[in-house]
Symmetry: D2
Subunit: 381 residues, 4 copies
């Protein structure tokens, strides 16, 4: 008895194109998903690149114009893995074409753009989801369960940071294919939309909405050569961004992201302090959760380093045996599994486009606060 | 321009059947291998199980008799992922059938069995390799590079252990499909052939041959119900095994494996102390290498915790971006990539069957030493 | 050849009275100081307590009125280890009496109070020092050296937090002898003056002055029974305090302190990210410094965990042998050693009263910013 | 009401002379001991050294002949902190003189010597104790409590090692004052009596007696210049020593000590695996205990990192406040406190001379096993 086929068309062939493609190719080997995902088409402006990607990942066909891809009747799902400045136009057209849509984060370059995407998707009633993949790190999912079970009690503090160091050199240019994240026109913002967006998505998922923020940003290297023009141009993105937050539940938040933290390649870390228990998680060892429970016997209280590889840990019964860790790419497989299951049941799980918009409201407020040197209320929150 | 196809037939559908199948399915997405690996056939005694595995992993066909599989002309490579007691018979027949062979470790249940396998494979001249996968953890491969470059200087100490805790309960039965590792007739030995074999393979690869050993073993739970007979029977395997070693290079070794180390699911850890530098690696965080270099400036000397995720780390340029870890399963992908590349060039890389026999000489000596309460010389070493 | 005696009079017998007394008693056993410190007198309002303290620590005499202590000709140095609300009056009188003065931190309850103390001390020209003891953790002192040597290069980020969890219970009263830190009238503020003050002192010492701040504070438990009145009263202190900072050198700072971080007894941690190198230090393992140097060979770059116990580490040649750690109390011994040496040479080392005032300017700005929901410029900075 | 004075005479002024003197000077500041310890006399062959030590530590007098010290009526306790080859003669004479005796470890250079000491002390009926200080690391004492409470259940494994790296250089001479530990005539053995003795003392205290051992030792640098003769001489000590052990309780032990483990200054670490729980402790962070309890809820099981600084941890209520660590020297203060308390009650706590002899039986067996390449039964065990 074979499963129904679900035809996927992906736009983009970069880092995220790879993580998504890998997820589609692996998911059915490990999860009993209701569809057989079919890598139907990859779309990229340059045919040669599209074909190279096709060959590596086994896509059945290539397109060089995303409008053509949307017109195809044999495509069920559109996966947008192209740079941020393309999200809105493609997503709105895909919604109008009645496709289910998966979109890389951030949804739009700012909340205004994201609003138009949400409106189009909700008007069309198409299933939609955003690749905030860190929700599906098993340790983070377990954190969500522990909070939902009330184990932490009243929350006092939420702390997150995402530290990198890859743009410190003055000689690094901006823009173009490999470095569009440094081009404000393409990316929308710097670390705020790139790294902080992850922190905010997880934070609001785990700890509820952020009410207001006070932020500061900095661009340490003010000018860089632009790959598209060849000229030295002003850098428009934020290299670093930090903010204080007040959550609706009364807890305090501190957030920081930077690409200037020497020694950290990708240190996304979060900590939650509750009345009864606390949690720490860090991306560089994503298969561990640290947990402190005040209810433990006094003299034996300590932070527990939990190796999240057991069958009773989220998602883990699908992988290997206790003690054997998974890695970064698995978070995308988990999301693909949840998406396929949700699609079949008519109930695609979060984060939806609307959830991603809630993150954009915060990133917008962060940038506004940094500009205005003032606390900003998060709209809609 | 498509690649030549390489047809794989796998025997076994358990834990190792999965790790190998995953490797074949992923390898060409990440490595530019000279063949397209084709999942041609899976073989298992029970048709239903074979078919379930076929469906999950996309094998083209099933067999229920491995002799039939060996007869097929459309099979290039035989992968033996079945329990230890089947390795010799299958491997010898596969060699005689002229197939390239990949075999799970340990090669045979003891050196005598392994010798017959080596003889058959070498007589037939078929490419052969054993799945001692930990050599291809990038951090371990890097350790090998550092030693080869002479960075550690003269080696004084080698230290390895592999600690688990999954068989502590008296109520756990032995034998049968899921628990054949506890049945001495099937497994050959307990932790010595299962866990210590990994430690020994890595040790002799990194530090040269072991000359002599003094060992002790223990079976903590003396009797367990047997799944095949339903009766309480004597346990024939070793639950724990530890030995002192003298290496040919003059260094001292300490080795230990157990399934009775509460709190450790799979703590394989190794440490090498050289005159100039030292190395530590641990499986539960396999993407890290600890390195101490005495040549560092005095007041700033310390163990470096190296996050092995950069493009200049072994195998890592094929995966994601710096800071994003891989996991256990990737070691098999690396071995599959190296196997395919070696096969095309006529030079399959180690560990060969003969390399695996060298490990069996040591495990045999360990078991003999424990029986005889005496130091044992490792034959051939 | 005996050393000149230096007669010390201490006011206060609590936690800090103990750390200081221990420092005076040990310093000459480990450091070749130019004076023999003599525990001449301890002063406390309650004679019984003063006498108990005298007996434990071997003070020669007791006083119950600090004015009497100041009048004594046989006292060279006054050490103020009493609650914050007593610092100003005593310190000013001690200055007028021509005594050298050591004062617990914070200097005053706010900058206004501290200014009067600084003015009096500088007018009198008496040697003065404040017990910001964390400067003399050897790992922190080493961090200072590394920065001074230019090893970190341009600084981008400074990050500090001081997390505790001891006041979470609603049933904890405020005020009185043991809990004066919860009484705003005595303490001046909550965690801002208590914990953040340490972070700020170290930060400005290592990274230069803080220009402006944006802060938020919270009092999670709004009312507590007061030990002095027996009534439930409003809590006036801040339970948590966090701020963003801009340093004069262009780097960004994030600071946080709280007594509501379940699982942390005293987690003071600081991190500095420079263009070339970064540093992390954490109080719960104060004998370690983490150091990352980008100039290390690429594939072997990692955070070094430096065990600060070698003779070429600051202060450490005076203690034991490499590998054997010291603890919290030793920071006070180091300060006592430096004070005695400086006193003899006429050049008492920092932190002076004026240095401590610089911290108070920041804590005042933090509290003002939290009240006003606005960025505050740090006066004088 | 002053306490009775207890007059101490110490022999030796080296590293251990300092740790003991510090303990005597501090103990009454932190513990309510029944005696006031008086530093009555220090004895050393060279008057200048004795006087320097006297001045630093405040001893009332000096002696240059230990026989004179023993004759003094004003000395209650003799503390032997001189090199190993002096222990027997002094201890026996001190016993005959009716003094209470504290002796550095190891008791004698071998069990034969130690037997004569034990016999003399027991015949004289004098209080006696050996400075196996690691028993009184609070984390280790807590481990003892947990085992005594049955929390670990049946013990399967005991694992200890003590790794150093300070003698790797070929240019290091042997013998003389600073390097007597490398002179076999003075020290008795190398790392076996120096480092392994600590491991064995703790092991037999925590896990009962060792029945038999199989060992190997190595001297990596065969010849070194001798400081006393100026000539290059054969090195008689063991540089490294490792052994397998069978405990009387049926558990397996692995032990190792070396001075050739690059990167480790003093890595004494022990691990105990029980049916229900496990424990790890490491000297470089001696204020932490790692504890794993299988009875914890499955998905939240993990190694707890317990910061041993709370009032309900052994000895810790006497020191500072939770979160503030103590260091190496405090273990001696704890032993001094226990000794003084035990002396007053007529019941000096372990480890006695006889307990230390039990360690020497094991170290002798280790050295014999290494010589004979055979398992050795531990006499008396």
């Amino acid at each position: 008895m074979s499963k129904p086929r679900l035809n996927l068309g992906i736009i983009g062939y970069g880092f995220m194109g790879r993580t998504h493609s890998n997820a589609y190719r692996k998911v059915a080997n490990f999860f009993d998903v209701p569809y057989e995902p079919v890598l139907k088409a990859v779309c990229a402006r340059t045919r040669a690149r599209a074909e190279a990607f096709q060959q590596t990942w086994g896509y059945e066909s290539v397109e060089t114009d995303w409008r053509r891809l949307l017109e195809r009747k044999d495509i069920d799902v559109i996966d947008i893995a192209s740079p941020n400045d393309t999200h809105a136009e493609i997503a709105i057209a895909a919604a109008q074409a009645g496709k289910a849509i998966l979109c890389e984060k951030p949804l739009g370059r700012n909340a205004a753009e994201s609003k138009t995407i949400v409106a189009a998707a909700e008007k069309a009633g198409v299933p939609n989801m955003v690749w905030y993949n860190y929700r599906r790190v098993p340790a983070v999912t377990l954190a969500k369960e522990l909070i939902a079970e009330g184990r932490l009690g009243r929350i006092f503090h939420y702390r997150a940071k995402f530290l990198q160091d890859w743009t410190i050199s003055k000689d690094l240019p901006q823009g173009g294919e490999a470095l569009w994240r440094l081009d404000v026109n393409v990316a929308g913002s710097g670390v705020t939309g790139d790294l902080l967006a992850h922190c905010i998505d997880t934070a609001q998922w785990l700890n509820g909405s952020i009410d207001s923020v006070s932020a500061t940003t900095e661009t340490f290297i003010k000018e860089r050569q632009h790959n598209l023009t060849g000229k030295v141009e002003k850098v428009g993105i934020d290299d670093a961004s930090a903010f204080l937050a007040r959550f609706a539940n009364g807890s305090l938040g501190t957030f920081e992201a930077t690409r200037y933290a020497r020694g950290h390649k990708a240190l996304y870390t979060l900590e939650i302090n509750g009345e009864k228990a606390s949690i720490i998680w860090e991306l560089p060892d994503l298969h561990r959760l640290q947990y402190f429970d005040h209810r433990d016997e006094g003299k034996l209280r300590g932070w527990r380093s939990i190796h999240i590889t057991d069958a009773d840990h989220p998602y883990m019964k699908h992988w290997w045996v206790p003690g054997l860790q998974i890695g970064y790419e698995h978070t995308f497989v988990h999301q693909a599994a949840d998406f396929l299951t949700g699609l079949a049941s008519g109930n695609v799980p979060p984060p939806s486009f609307r959830d991603a918009l809630a993150t954009d409201f915060v990133t917008d407020a962060v940038l506004a606060s940094a500009r205005n040197l003032a606390w900003e209320k998060v709209p809609g929150a």
